[in-house]
C-alpha cells in the first residue's frame, strides 16, 4: 500500500508541474537571447567547413578513394555534415545540461533549487527536455542549411528512424551530462572536466573520420561513446541508404548504453548532492 502511494506520489501532478516549469523557464531564458539562438542555429556549420576545404586541397575534389576504403563511401562531405549535426547534440548536452548547475550557482539560485521540497530528478528531467528542444531546433536549422548548400539528401522514409536514433543518442548524452552536473556541485573546476569530455568526443568519436582510422586503443575508447553508434547508424541510413532494421546492433548498443548512463547519472547526482550538502560547499563557485 505504501509502495503504491509512493509510486503515485512520484508520478503526481506536482512533479509534472516541476518538469513543465523547468522547461518553460529555460526556454524563456533562451528566448531572451535571440543572438544566441541565431548563433547555434548557424555557426556549427562553419566549424566543419575547414575540413571540406582541407579535403579539396588534399584530394583535388569531393571524393577520395582512400577514404572510401575505410569509411565505405568516397563522399567525405556528407560524412562530415552528418558528423557536425550530431556533434552539436554533444555540445549542447555538455555545455547546456552539464554546466546548468554551475550556471545556477553563478546566479545564486542553486541553494533555493536544492532546498525546494520537490524531487531533484524532475528538475533535471525538465532541464534535459528543454535542452533537447533547443538542440533539435538548432539541428533542424543546420540540416536545412546543409540540404540547401552542401547537397545533403534525406529521404522521407529516413526521417523517423533518424529521429529515433537521435532520441537514443540524447538519452545517453544526458546520462553523461548528469554526471558532469553532479561533479559541478562538488568540484568547482567542473568547467575543465567538461572540456576534457569534449576533447574525448572531439578526438575519438567518428565525427570527421571513421572509427577504423584510429589505433586499436582509440577504437576501444570510441566504442564507449554513444555518439559513435548514433553516427554509424545515421550515416548508414543517409549515405549508404541501408535499411534501419539492419542496424539493430547499433541500436541495441545505444539502448544498453542509455540505460546504464542514465542510471549512473541519477545515482551519481544524488550521491554527490548529499556529499556536497554535508560539506556545505554547494553554492560556492
Amino acid at each position: 500500500m505504501n509502495a503504491g502511494k509512493h509510486i503515485l506520489k512520484t508520478f503526481s501532478g506536482t512533479n509534472y508541474f516541476v518538469v513543465w516549469s523547468e522547461i518553460v523557464k529555460n526556454i524563456k531564458i533562451l528566448l531572451a537571447y535571440p543572438v544566441v539562438i541565431v548563433f547555434w542555429a548557424i555557426f556549427p556549420v562553419f566549424w566543419f567547413l575547414p575540413f571540406v576545404f582541407q579535403g579539396e586541397a588534399f584530394v583535388g575534389g569531393l571524393q577520395s578513394a582512400s577514404f572510401a576504403e575505410i569509411a565505405g563511401t568516397p563522399n567525405y562531405v556528407p560524412f562530415l555534415v552528418v558528423g557536425a549535426i550530431l556533434n552539436s547534440y554533444v555540445l549542447t548536452s555538455l555545455w547546456g545540461l552539464g554546466e546548468s548547475m554551475r550556471r545556477e550557482a553563478y546566479q545564486g539560485t542553486l541553494d533555493y533549487l536544492l532546498a525546494s521540497p520537490c524531487n531533484k530528478a524532475f528538475i533535471l528531467i525538465g532541464k534535459a527536455i528543454s535542452e533537447s528542444i533547443n538542440s533539435t531546433f538548432f539541428a533542424i536549422s543546420q540540416i536545412v542549411i546543409c540540404v540547401l548548400f552542401f547537397g545533403l539528401e534525406i529521404t522521407l522514409g529516413a526521417i523517423m528512424p533518424i529521429i529515433f536514433i537521435i532520441i537514443l543518442l540524447i538519452a545517453g548524452l544526458y546520462g553523461i551530462a548528469l554526471m558532469l552536473a553532479a561533479l559541478s556541485l562538488q568540484y568547482k573546476q567542473s568547467h575543465d572536466i567538461a572540456h576534457v569530455l569534449d576533447y574525448v568526443f572531439y578526438i575519438f568519436a567518428p565525427v570527421r573520420y571513421p572509427v577504423q582510422s584510429l589505433p586499436l586503443w582509440g577504437q576501444l575508447i570510441s566504442k564507449l561513446l554513444p555518439l559513435t553508434y548514433a553516427l554509424i547508424a545515421v550515416r548508414s541510413i543517409i549515405i549508404m541508404r541501408q535499411n534501419v532494421f539492419s542496424l539493430y546492433q547499433e541500436m541495441l548498443y545505444l539502448l544498453v548504453m542509455d540505460v546504464l548512463l542514465i542510471f549512473l547519472g541519477f545515482y551519481f547526482f544524488n550521491w554527490v548532492e548529499k556529499k556536497t550538502k554535508k560539506s556545505g560547499t554547494i553554492s560556492q563557485y
Binding site: V35, P50, Q54, G55, S64, I203
Partner: protein, 298 residues
C-alpha cells in the same frame, strides 16, 4: 554657471606620474608587466585548467591530421604538391595550427579580457586607477602570448615525436620576424574585440564568430587557392593569411610563394591599420560605456 578657461597654473601635487615623461612610461610598462603576472597568478590558482589549456593545441590539431591522413591514404598528397610545391600534409597542417592558438590569444584572451574583469567585479576598480586602459589589455595579451608559446612548444614536441616534422632550421629567424609582425596586427584586432565585449552582452558570440571566420579565411589547414575568389580577397584583411604563407615558405622545403617581400610589407600595413582601428574603437566604446554607466554591469 558658465565656465571659462582662464589660465594654466600649478595646483596641488598629484601622487602619480603622468604625461609623456620617462617616469610615466616606466610606470605604464610596469603596469603591463604586473597585469601579465596577475593573469598568471589567477590562472595557476586553477591548476587543472592550466594543464588542460597546455595540451589543448594537441587535441585541436589531431582531428585535422587524422582526417588528412585518412583522405590521402598516407602523408603525401600529390594535389597539395601541385598547389603549393610540397606534399607533406603533416608539416603543412602543423605550421598552420601553430598560428591557430595565437588567433585565440587575440580573440579570447584579449577579446574577453575586459569582460572577464567585469565578471570578477574588478573592472571599475582598475578603471579608476590612472593607468592607461590599453596597458591593462596589453598585459593580458602578454600573458596569453607567453602561455600560447609554451603550448605551441609542447604541441611541437608531441607532433614531432609521433609523426615527425620536416622543417628548415634556417627558416626559424625570419619566421619569428613574421610572427612578431603578425602578433602586432592581432593585438590591434584583439583590442577591437575587447571593446566589442564591453558593449555587447553576448560578446562571446562575436568572439566565437570572428574566430570562426578568421580561421576559415586563414590557410590554417588548406592553402588559400582552394577558397572561392571573394574569400581569398577577404583573407587579405587578416594578418594570419600572409603570415602563414610567409612562415611556410621559410620553414617547409619546396614551398612556393610568389614574392616573400610582399609578405613583410603586407603585414606592416596590417599592423598599422589594425592597431589604429582597434585603439580608435576601444576609446569610442569606452566613452560610450561610461556614458551609459555600464562598466560595473555584467
Amino acid at each position: 554657471m558658465e565656465k571659462t578657461c582662464v589660465e594654466h597654473r600649478e595646483l596641488r601635487k598629484v601622487p602619480c606620474p603622468s604625461g609623456f615623461t620617462i617616469a610615466n612610461l616606466k610606470a605604464e610598462s610596469r603596469a603591463i608587466w604586473e597585469s601579465n603576472i596577475k593573469e598568471w597568478k589567477i590562472e595557476l590558482a586553477y591548476p587543472v585548467g592550466f594543464l588542460r589549456s597546455l595540451i589543448e593545441p594537441i587535441v585541436l590539431i589531431l582531428p585535422f591530421l587524422i582526417y588528412g591522413l585518412v583522405l590521402v591514404g598516407g602523408r603525401y598528397s600529390e594535389n597539395l604538391k601541385q598547389l603549393v610545391g610540397t606534399g607533406d600534409i603533416v608539416s603543412f597542417i602543423f605550421v598552420g595550427y601553430m598560428i591557430m592558438g595565437f588567433i585565440g590569444t587575440a580573440v579570447w584572451a584579449m577579446g574577453s579580457s575586459i569582460r572577464r574583469e567585469q565578471w570578477f567585479g574588478t573592472l571599475e576598480s582598475i578603471y579608476t586607477t590612472p593607468t592607461n586602459r590599453l596597458s591593462l589589455v596589453l598585459g593580458m595579451a602578454l600573458h596569453s602570448t607567453v602561455h600560447q608559446s609554451i603550448s605551441t612548444l609542447i604541441e611541437f614536441t608531441a607532433i614531432y615525436t609521433v609523426f615527425g616534422l620536416a622543417l628548415k632550421i634556417q627558416g626559424i629567424l625570419p619566421t619569428l620576424v613574421i610572427f612578431a609582425l603578425m602578433m602586432f596586427a592581432l593585438y590591434g584586432f584583439g583590442i577591437f574585440v575587447s571593446a566589442l565585449g564591453l558593449v555587447l552582452q553576448e560578446g562571446w558570440i562575436v568572439a566565437e564568430g570572428l574566430q570562426s571566420i578568421m580561421m576559415l579565411l586563414s590557410p590554417v589547414a588548406y592553402p588559400l587557392a582552394v577558397l572561392p575568389n571573394f574569400a581569398q580577397q577577404m583573407s587579405t584583411v587578416f594578418p594570419t593569411a600572409p603570415a602563414l604563407e610567409g612562415m611556410r615558405s621559410f620553414l617547409i622545403e619546396d614551398y612556393t610563394l610568389k614574392t616573400v617581400g610582399n609578405v613583410f610589407l603586407h603585414l606592416l600595413a596590417l599592423d598599422i591599420s589594425w592597431i589604429i582601428f582597434g585603439v580608435a574603437i576601444f576609446y569610442l566604446v569606452d566613452r560610450y560605456v561610461r556614458g551609459r554607466g555600464a562598466l560595473g554591469k555584467y
